[in-house]
Symmetry: C2
Subunit: 147 residues, 2 copies
DNA sequence: ACCGACACTTACCACACGGTGAGTATAGAA
DNA sequence: TTCTATACTCACCGTGTGGTAAGTGTCGGT
């Protein structure tokens, strides 16, 4: 549930030292990050963490920009990873409910570290970006630098 | 540097409760995740955390699959976010060194939570995936699926 | 008989991402 | 003179990702 500080230190040391982590772990982490980092997964995780159990259309309404296709797709992937459970009620107008598993909840908790980091370093990042743009942009060229 | 457990709890509570986080933070988090989650950023962060200061080609060698284009691009983005510093030595064969900033280091530390999570839940995820594939794959010739 | 609700699935399409390979600049080595 | 090393930039191109819109199936309401 909560971050284990011993583990934390240990891995920090591994990062600081040359000790490579288990390659399986590294691969998994990359996969997890890739999965979680897409446009919708974190938002859905967030909404689900906030609202508990939700139906497909409710979820769609709570994640404004999303298309049905992406909602289904993301939810499927999250289900596959064991982050959400999908409960089908075989009733006349279909009723499907989605809810985070313990795993999903714990992923949310694990990401707290990143949230905290972002929260604490928001200003720093914005300053870094501004400074970078400052020292990069002054060339009056129309370089297409899309975000 | 290390994760603040008070903050951690606080945010967990916010996640559990309905309290939304500062939208700026949420936006930033999504951006950070999106940035960090690309194919190369985390790997570079990792390599840099392990080796300290590195030159362009050294980095390229330590991140086997990467193309020059992607290395440059990723490095630039990381520089913009203030995660790395780029030091140019105006010598005859160009010499440029890259090194993590405190911010970059702290991001690595923040991601420890996710690493730990992945490490601790590796089996669970693989089992979830296997189970999901199991119950999804058995599609034989018949198109009708009996749930 | 027709419509709408729900939870999807499918076809199509545009754009962005990432790879490849070439080009650029400089100076010392061969 | 040509080659090599370094740290890039640029043009081109194929794939993949995500959006739009329409279709599917069932049943209850009108």
């Amino acid at each position: 549930m909560s971050i284990d500080l011993h583990k934390h230190r240990e891995i920090q040391q591994k990062l600081a030292a040359q000790e490579p982590l288990d390659p399986r772990v590294e691969k998994l982490v990359n996969e997890v990050i890739a999965r979680v980092a897409d446009k919708w997964t974190m938002i859905i995780l967030d909404v689900l963490a906030e609202h508990g159990e939700l139906r497909f259309t409710q979820l769609g309404r709570l994640v404004p920009g999303i298309s049905q296709k992406m909602l289904t797709q993301t939810l499927r992937e999250m289900e596959r990873e064991g982050l959400v459970v999908r409960t089908v009620h075989p009733v006349v107008p279909p009723k499907v409910e989605y809810r985070l598993t313990d795993l999903g909840l714990s992923l949310g908790a694990a990401f707290c570290g990143v949230w905290i980091w972002a929260e604490q370093n928001l200003e720093k990042i914005e300053r870094a970006r501004a400074a970078f743009d400052q020292r990069t942009k002054p060339e009056d060229q129309s370089m297409s630098r899309s975000v």
